[in-house]
Symmetry: C3
Subunit: 491 residues, 3 copies
């Protein structure tokens, strides 16, 4: 559905091609994932074909052009290169449009609703056709990296279960870690490749995700996933990653930190009192994960640096989220799976601190118990977590549970009694159980409902209020509007 | 006034029966309190009589029915049992009313004012008669448990003074601790019994207290008081409580934590940015007190758990209260005795941390000095703490002073010099002095002004705006309204 | 410009007297500063002359009278003493005016704009003549003490560079420390004397600065500067200040803490959610500087006290500033040099904690790395720090850089490698470079643009809305306006 068909899928409507592997939907998920990655390699190798596909499709609907890289400039350059020159004034035109095409933050808040800001309000119109299925890459969101977080954290968890002396009574094989790790790497390669294609062909769409107040936090996900892979590295594969790799992995996280925390503190419309949302935890937890990995590699100063940065901004975020300021317009009123991200930062912070300080002392127990309290707080309200539309982003909300389970294993190593071991076991089971459930959901949505990648309306909002169209000047506004919000005035 | 007469008092107007011990108002307070508890035992033993009293009174004024348990269902069942069957449709009627009878949070904020939200705004009407004295139990607020906190913390303070090697130069006898502890236990038994009766007979009123944004914090008070009794346990009575008792005592605190912190973070109208108020400190300080007791009993993990939970939520609360967000509608503008609760959490946290870490090190001194600074900050503004109507809740605001005095005694044990000893002594004297003043006030209000338990209007607000009545349909609304908001339409 | 001419300058318009040392503007700044202080001594010794000057000027423009101490009462008393009695009813009149003359906080926020609230909004009028240059003392703001902070911190920095074993490879002489320290003391004496004169002669103006929501924080500056001098004390001058001096220096800081933090928490219109502004860091950093000095002098409890107070309030401030609440009306939207104050508190806190705990451990590194991250966060946005009107207050924004450099030197002592040494060196160079730039700016503004002390309009706002003036009755308002509250009585 999203691996093998991708080649054909991009730019072509889903309805037109039934997946040839529709019959194989009963096969095991792991096998599927392997297939995906294998076929993906093929599809990547034939990447040259992609470059033409968007052009083919663009003849169908010019509206997708606005989301293409340089509004299709690259594509036109390739066309030029192949001997089909196009007029220059078209390019300058499209550049003008492109400058307009990024909606302001307030537009996102006005036009979208829901905990992940991915549902269109009734009064709003899209700049892309609502009734058709868009090109695959336009429907492939950054939150797909959540899957890598989910599977990657499972790899870490099963490594911890296998290696922890406290849990040795369970005789868990390291092979599970290896298998999960390979799957995680496979999923990551697939997702990263697809998203890279999106960056190449639909850079405007990527920019619109980057400006989305919730989505931006998912830009941390690929780097956090890599950190997970390094921490969950199976002993079969290697003992440890080289220290230099840590610096390479932390560079993008530091850059994003500087960018996003700066926006919170210094910047106009993206200030924290406006955008605070549980998904911001993704923007903080990377520091702690990096700190944990660094300390595991034997580094000293770097881990403390990221721990300190994480601590300062986590405190700010924790207070802000707890306060539920009325100005936090992106913060949903109802409980939603995204709230499980609350557990992530203290869980990882506790493990990181234990590594940094060399023991699971009081300093590590304080974040640990905070995580446990928050976990309980959500667990007793588990009935409220229903009735939400499934989304791929949910995968990202499972890694905090794995984090809590790992922290409990570390805790049980220090406080070795029946209770702590039972807790470690229970949390591990819950975490793996939830991931399994999610896997089933994902497979169902992919192969049965065929709705794993619905139209990503979050990136297709118009950058002007649609209200004006209801006014009298409707007729005059048509030609002006047609360039960028090409929707019919007829309502 | 509230012990011996309670039996008769419930359901009957105060004005009608002068207390027979009105002449004994000069007797010592301690003797009184003993009398109260002794007589209370008698009154509790005759509890069967209570069950009838509300019924007698209900014939006087049907409006009280709405506050009775299951709107008087229990009472009717008893009547039924005795052979006086009542028709079923009345019950279903009253259940409908009862469903309506819990006002939303906004109603509390709209209808009430003052630092403890216990004064009715001019524009509002009550659902109970304003000109009559209500049944005693309806006038008996949960904040009465504040008295137990006040006396219980004195017992702890005098135990610390008697046992601390630093203060041994004062030769304070442990008997004071014993006497205070017994009084505290007595007061607690009395208050708890009366409140239990309220729970039994006026469960709707209890629910209305539970939904009151300030009162809800006082639901922590009974459990904190029990923790105080365990910490202040006189060596004559026993060396220590068994560890199992700690778990029993902490269970309700943990439940309330989960409930109330969840409301702050996750919940709609009770979010922290709306309800933050110094009385929330009661909801936090229980964790530290429990932590202190647990550490004293030799427990390890439990105390750190509650310390961590307390720390996280205290940080959030401290920042929120300091910010004085304009949305904090329950936060009074003027200084009020409730502000002394600011001292409670850091004082107790410092003692708890000293116990957990085994020494009064820097980690304990930081909260200690924060408490001292806040104390000074309030002390230099002592002139502003005047002109407020006395309320029983003030007792709760004295325990932070005892907490600060105890923390100073611990500090003086570590930093043993003249200054620290003088400070410990001064704070102890201030604390006991304030409690004595409050005792005098309480006695005056009980026996002289006969206003210790005024009508508790905070629980009797109507759940609809009284504005609508000013409209045209006034005449038609009369009959509909008369059942639960029995106010005149003529304004 | 502001030293030698001050004697003549006070009360006389600048335009009328060209500075006789206008030709010497190429001379070194240090020489100038020495001249200033030398001449200042002379001018102070001839202080008796000052007492008359305001009187001379007052005949020119009666509006300045409102800003004089007791509205010129002292001056009149002196006149009386000299045998020129004045009628009493004038005094009582002026007292009435004076009671009115302090604008409410909201007036400051309504009438002023800009990051330092020192620019008049278009709609507003001043109570002092806008077209004339006011008396020098009225134009001499409290933020001039920023200069002492800037130079004083340089003295500390060069002492650290000279004495640190890690930086010994640079062979920096202690003489630089001595020279800078002497300059700092000189500048301080000059500024303090002038401000003292302002306190004496224009107490109303000082009060207006004290009520200004940004300026009030600069009232901490003189005391912090003194702490800097004590820390940066050249070994040539003395080994250490006596411990008693610490208590003397900390007394005013503690008083201001109690006053200002109390306003944040307890007070009506000056609550933190309204006035939070990066300049509040000045109100917090004094605690850490005092803590550092105290620990250096071998004190134990005092430093921890101030560290704790600073920590608690810094946390609150940090969260509040990061949140950028929409109610923070004094918080500018754009980046401004004042944001460098963000680095101050964690830098100094880290050095202080290292002194208190006796080693540069994890506890010191956490604030250190937070400071470094904030520094980077501002450094990468350095392009935004342009286009602001120069003001003397900028000097205050340089000391955080010196603080960060000193913290890095301490860090390099612990983590002695090439990176840390290079960082220490770089930060020291940046810090000194910025101060040099600022010195050039100051000299340019003093001698070339002659605009070092422009009219301080922040203190001259009217205390009533001037809106009414835009209306029709403008012509009638002229004569009434001239005094100080230019609003129509007929409305």
């Amino acid at each position: 559905m999203f691996g093998d068909n991708a080649v054909i899928d991009i730019g072509i409507n889903d309805q037109q091609n039934l997946p040839e592997n529709g019959d194989s939907s009963n096969a095991t998920a792991i096998k599927h994932l392997r297939n995906f990655s294998r076929r993906m390699c093929a599809s990547v190798s034939s990447a040259s074909r992609f470059s033409m596909l968007p052009r083919f499709e663009s003849s169908n609907d010019a509206r997708y052009d606005n989301f293409k890289t340089w509004s299709g400039k690259l594509e036109r350059q390739i066309s030029n290169f192949r001997g089909n020159p196009i007029e220059l004034n078209t390019i300058s035109d499209s550049q003008e449009t492109e400058a307009e095409s990024l909606p302001a933050l307030d537009r996102y808040l006005d036009a979208l609703e829901g905990p992940e800001l991915d549902t269109l309000r009734a009064s709003e119109k899209l700049v892309l056709p609502e009734d058709k299925t868009w090109p695959f890459l336009l429907r492939f969101p950054i939150s797909s990296f959540g899957m890598c977080l989910g599977v990657g954290s499972q790899a870490m968890l099963w490594k911890a279960l296998a290696l922890s002396p406290t849990m040795s009574f369970m005789n868990i094989s390291l092979t599970i870690n290896l298998v999960l790790w390979c799957i995680a790497i496979g999923v990551f390669s697939l997702v990263a490749s697809l998203y890279l294609l999106k960056v190449i062909f639909y850079f405007e769409a990527v920019k619109r995700e980057y400006y989305h107040p919730v989505r931006i936090n998912f830009f941390f996900a690929p780097w956090i996933a890599c950190l997970f892979f390094a921490i969950g590295l199976p002993p079969h594969v290697g003992k440890n990653i080289p220290q230099i790799a840590w610096y390479v992995l932390m560079a993008p996280i530091l850059s994003l930190d500087l960018k996003i925390y700066g926006q919170w503190m210094l910047g106009g419309e993206r200030k924290l009192s406006k955008v605070a949302n549980p998904s911001n935890h993704l923007a903080v937890v990377g520091n702690f994960v990096g700190s944990l990995l660094g300390a595991s590699l034997g580094l000293k100063e770097g881990p403390i640096f990221f721990f300190a940065v994480g601590l300062a901004h986590y405190s700010v975020l924790f207070v802000t989220l707890y306060q539920r300021l009325p100005t936090n317009e992106t913060l949903t009123k109802e409980l939603h799976p995204v709230f499980f991200l609350f557990i992530a930062a203290p869980s990882v912070a506790c493990t990181a601190w234990a590594k940094i300080s060399g023991e699971f002392g009081i300093g590590a127990r304080i974040p640990y118990f905070i995580a446990m309290f928050l976990y309980s707080s959500l667990a007793v309200r588990v009935n409220f977590f229903r009735g939400f539309r499934f989304s791929l982003a949910w995968w990202a909300y499972t890694f905090p549970m794995a984090g809590a389970a790992i922290a409990t294993i570390r805790y049980a190593e220090q406080v070795n009694n029946l209770n702590s071991k039972a807790l470690a076991l229970t949390l591990s089971i819950i975490s793996t159980f939830i991931v399994s459930i999610l896997l089933i959901y994902t497979i169902l949505h992919a192969f049965v409902f065929k709705s794993l990648f619905p139209n990503d309306i979050a990136i297709a909002i118009s950058h002007k209020k649609s209200k004006s169209k209801t006014k009298l000047q409707r007729s005059t506004s048509i030609d002006l509007e047609s360039c960028e919000s090409p929707v019919k005035p007829a309502q």
